[in-house]
Symmetry: C2
Subunit: 326 residues, 2 copies
DNA sequence: TTGTATGCGTTATCAG
DNA sequence: CTGATAACGCATACAA
């Protein structure tokens, strides 16, 4: 069932049907008869052929490091909301935490397939950014600050400052830190930097071996908490770069019967759904993940409308969720 | 940059380049010169044009009710794993819990765009299934049993039986149930049926108002737990259709200072990541979500290879995770 | 083994 | 307002 058959059935030209589909000039009589034929046949235009002509696919490529994560699925949820409201489809590519695959997917998307790309950035080195710059379609980076294309990111540094201040105010002075890979500037570098700077500002020592770096998974907290406690029995608090890592720490402490926060305080970042349900509830930082997806997508769609729009970078705030774990 | 330009640059015909791309007859000399030109130019064939000719997109449409859910994101993760290993892309459509949108997306996908569809089923009435039957591309349903296309589902009924037996064995005889919409046969109907049948088999009464139905969200548990306890102060356990609902119940009980499991036992289904971290850890049922995504996708790809393959339905098992909340 | 010619289903241009 | 007609970029039957 193609446009020619519809045209024949309706007794009009292909062009007329095409105009009907694209709201072009058309008399009401023709409009009606075409509408009737299309309704009867259930005809749907081939998006491939449309794309071949128009160069637009109405598909947005979204690249994420993993899908089964609280924060990421919230962002994707925001993206999907805006896209479907605007008649766009979402092509989702999962790098499974292999940053080198980001480029693969970008190249798969490139020239073909997608009208724009949303990249949930993990490690963005200069080579990768340069590659992105050279794309002929708009790109928006989420979760990392970059000067190059547009981006929306969180105030990771000040979130860490705020959390550390809070810990110190509560009387914790021996604070260990479990972080994640420095390849991730936002989560790996900035949160840790906020912590260290604040500690220094308060003249509190943080020996190098009181900071440990690991993965984005629970295991990171679960395996490194005992290490930290062994090295520094005087520790009275552990700050984790993500809630997921904090969950691992909590799991270990629970198993050992170490009381939170009496013996060790624990805090994280991300305000995952369960933070308020844990006993004690987890003190954490709320980031606006869903909004990040929503705003980033709007930004991309604007650029699609008007490619001349200059790059923007938006920093989203945060909120301290003061619970019982500190 | 298209196939004609490449042909011109390499001094061969378009057909030769096409043969190069599709491993057709070609002399080694031509093969080499074409390879060189393609490498220099970074040429990539237009997948739209390819599709227009071959009718294959190498894209699979995946329809899900929501993305920010533990179980669903695990399934999607499994799907994405297999697809990318096989060179397929994933077009993800999120119905945002509006089952009527499933058909919309199926129709968007239909005839165009995708080679096959994976549907994470919620409410599948006959009309919808009929519509799916009529599609000219293979479909696999995940999470629900259907006789029509192929499907992979969990043994929800016996999981509920197993869990209820366990509760009874532990001495709980006044068990309330918080379920979800009956539109979802697997989660809404079968789990509840397994519970009720088992209670009856043990001659334990379950008055109608000891069973409450609500949404898939935490609020369901959080708001209905007090209602249940008000109606039936004698309750010694609450079984929830999903872990998420159970989390809501736990949140309420914690806030009220009601001890788990001493005063009220709580159990759920789904083995969400946090179940083992809660204090007390949540007794639940492990379903093979990731494997469900993996197997379902393999099934679909097989069908794509050989459309003559008959429909299959696979029932996956479960595992009781006996923790401290009962 | 190679090139020519054709058509996949649209949309855009242009003449009426 | 309408209808021919020419692309869009590719794969393939056919002829060489």
């Amino acid at each position: 069932m193609n446009i020619s058959e519809i045209a024949k059935m309706a007794g009009v030209s292909r062009a007329a049907v095409s105009r009907y589909l694209n709201n072009g000039y058309l008399s009401n009589e023709k409009r009606e008869i075409i509408a009737k034929v299309i309704a009867e046949t259930g005809y749907m235009p081939s998006s491939q052929a449309q794309t071949l002509r128009t160069k637009r696919t109405k598909i947005i490529g979204v690249i994420i490091p993993k899908i089964d994560s609280d924060s990421i699925s919230q962002i994707v949820s925001g993206i999907s909301e805006v896209l479907s409201a605007s008649g766009y489809q979402m092509l989702l590519a999962n790098t499974e935490n292999q940053p080198e695959k980001e480029l693969d997917y970008i190249n798969t998307f490139r020239q073909n397939m997608v009208d724009g790309i949303i990249l949930l950035g993990t490690s963005l080195d200069d080579a990768k950014l340069k590659n992105i710059q050279e794309l002929d379609i708009p790109v928006v980076i989420l979760g990392q600050f970059v000067s190059a294309p547009s981006c929306i990111y969180h105030d990771d540094y000040h979130a860490a400052v705020c959390m550390t201040e809070q810990l110190i105010k509560k009387g914790y002075h021996n604070i260990g830190y479990i972080g994640v890979s420095k390849n991730d500037t936002a989560v790996g570098v900035l949160r840790q930097q906020g912590f260290l700077d604040t500690m220094r500002a308060h003249h509190l020592a943080v020996p190098e071996d009181m900071v440990i770096t690991g993965s984005f998974y629970m295991e990171n907290g679960y395996e490194h908490a005992p290490l930290l406690l062994e090295r520094h029995p005087e520790l009275d608090a552990i700050l984790c770069a993500t809630d997921t890592v904090a969950l691992g720490v909590i799991k270990y402490l629970n198993e050992q019967g170490i009381l939170i926060p009496t013996q060790i305080a624990v805090a994280g970042f991300g305000d995952s759904r369960v933070s308020s349900i844990l006993q004690p509830s987890l003190t954490t930082i709320h980031f606006y993940y869903h909004e990040c997806g929503v705003e980033g997508t709007k930004m991309l769609l604007e650029k699609l409308q008007n490619p001349e729009i200059p790059n923007k970078s938006i920093k989203l705030g945060f909120e301290l969720i003061l619970n019982d774990s500190i």
